[in-house]
């Protein structure tokens, strides 16, 4: 019997991981620093902005103790720009992810390997016009939790749906030119999109691998055979030199 669990993460799990993203809040009440496992939170003093993990921000928002500042890329203008990039500038590829906030140099640094959700890609200081790794789930969560903090929630909602449609169509289209090696690049694809497309893409690749398997075996045998020939002739030459 097959294991009933699907490989990969379900949308709910991806959304759970997304709650570790840092967002910027504007507190309405004072709150002392909390000693959490991931480190102490900054002490909240209204009206100073502070960065908080999304789950804590949602909790405070629900209790009306804070307002969430939406990240700049979730602004309708920024989404318009991204949508335009996706449909007109580059109808084949995905819009690029935000640039790495820590300068990448030739010398390896400990900040090089930091990845979402530990990058500040959804705070108020994040760059506009780039979709971060958790864009879809973060957008949906914010739309659900704090539509009053967003500039134009209905427009943002339709824009997010449009973006999702366009990008999923691209992911599906890409499987047409799949080879046995796999998808060429997933740069700029978000966590939720990977979760949605995983079953299909893995299935297609599996099928191609099976169909190409005996061709692969034949090629390897031929190479081995030719390699053996080469080895023998090399030995022969050595013998001659001696």
């Amino acid at each position: 019997m097959a294991l009933p669990l699907q490989p990969g993460l379900t949308p709910t799990e991806v959304a759970f991981l997304c709650e570790m993203e840092t967002v910027t809040v504007v507190p309405r009440q004072r709150l002392e620093s909390l000693p959490l496992i991931s480190g102490p939170t900054p002490a909240l003093r209204p009206p100073h902005r502070s960065p908080l993990p999304l789950w804590l921000a949602l909790l405070l928002k629900r209790q009306r103790r804070a307002n969430i500042l939406p990240p700049p890329w979730l602004h309708p203008q920024s989404l318009d720009k991204i949508l335009k990039y996706e449909t007109e500038t580059s109808p084949e590829g995905f819009s690029p992810p935000p640039p790495h906030p820590y300068l990448l140099t030739t010398r390896p640094a400990s900040t090089d390997t930091i990845s979402p959700p530990f990058l500040p890609s959804s705070t108020a200081g994040a760059p506009a016009g780039y979709l971060p790794y958790h864009w879809l789930e973060l957008g949906e969560i914010l739309l659900e939790a704090c539509p009053d903090d967003l500039p134009d929630p209905n427009r943002i909602r339709t824009q997010l749906r449009d973006l999702r449609e366009v990008r999923m169509a691209k992911i599906r289209h890409r499987t047409k030119d799949l080879e046995g090696g796999g998808i060429t690049s997933l740069r700029g694809v978000g966590a939720m999109e990977v979760s949605e497309g995983r079953g299909f893409i893995v299935g297609v690749m599996d099928g191609i691998r099976k169909l190409g398997s005996n061709r692969e075996v034949a090629r390897r045998e031929r190479e081995e055979y030719e390699g053996g020939e080469g080895g023998i002739s090399d030995e022969g030459e050595e013998m001659e030199y001696e």
Partner: protein, 188 residues
């Protein structure tokens, strides 16, 4: 391929035209002549697991059986797949078409134009997969609507073989999980 894999067991049961090169006593019922021996040179349809074993084993330098490409891999089918993969009813050819084709290609690499058949099958799989994903992401959305082209889709989906049905299911499950999560988000 696991020992308990039902699909590989079912693939093993697909019939292959086999020519018996040796007279076998008492097996005449395979050729509608019960009670008599099966004569050498008779062509019978045998399941893959049996004909494979007969084809690879030898009886004193003589092959016991000779395989022929089955009808589902005939040049006619290959040409149809090359022309338009989406219009071929693969399920009518074989319920486990791709797996069966791979097994046959393993056995008959000289008989079929080998590389070509492999390339055609891969291209077919790729093109049909794209079509499947389009249907899977739209399935269940316009239920009861039955707009333009919906009968076309039904026709295509009926012609999927088993591995393609799994693919359809995988694609559909992804979309469904996503849609239900987004629905939950908006409902709350």
């Amino acid at each position: 391929m696991s020992y308990y894999d039902l699909d590989s067991i079912l693939t093993d049961g697909q019939k292959v035209p086999t020519t018996i090169e040796l007279e076998v006593p008492g097996l005449g019922y395979l050729d509608n002549a019960p009670g008599r021996p099966l004569k050498a040179g008779t062509k019978v349809d045998l399941p893959l697991w049996l004909s494979q074993m007969l084809a690879v084993s030898a009886y004193s330098t003589k092959h016991i059986a000779d395989l022929e490409p089955p009808s589902c891999l005939a040049p006619r089918v290959m040409n149809a797949l090359k022309a338009d993969p989406k219009s071929v009813d693969i399920r009518a050819l074989s319920s486990h078409f791709y797996e069966f084709a791979v097994r046959i290609l393993e056995l008959l690499d000289e008989v079929l134009v080998y590389q070509d058949a492999c390339a055609v099958l891969m291209e077919t799989w790729r093109r049909r997969a794209a079509e499947i994903s389009d249907h899977a992401s739209n399935a269940g959305q316009n239920r009861g609507g039955g707009g333009m082209g919906s009968t076309d889709g039904v026709e295509f989906l009926r012609g999927l073989d088993d591995s393609e049905r799994y693919l359809f299911r995988a694609a559909h499950d992804g979309t469904k999980a996503m849609r239900s999560w987004m629905g939950e988000m908006t409902k709350k």
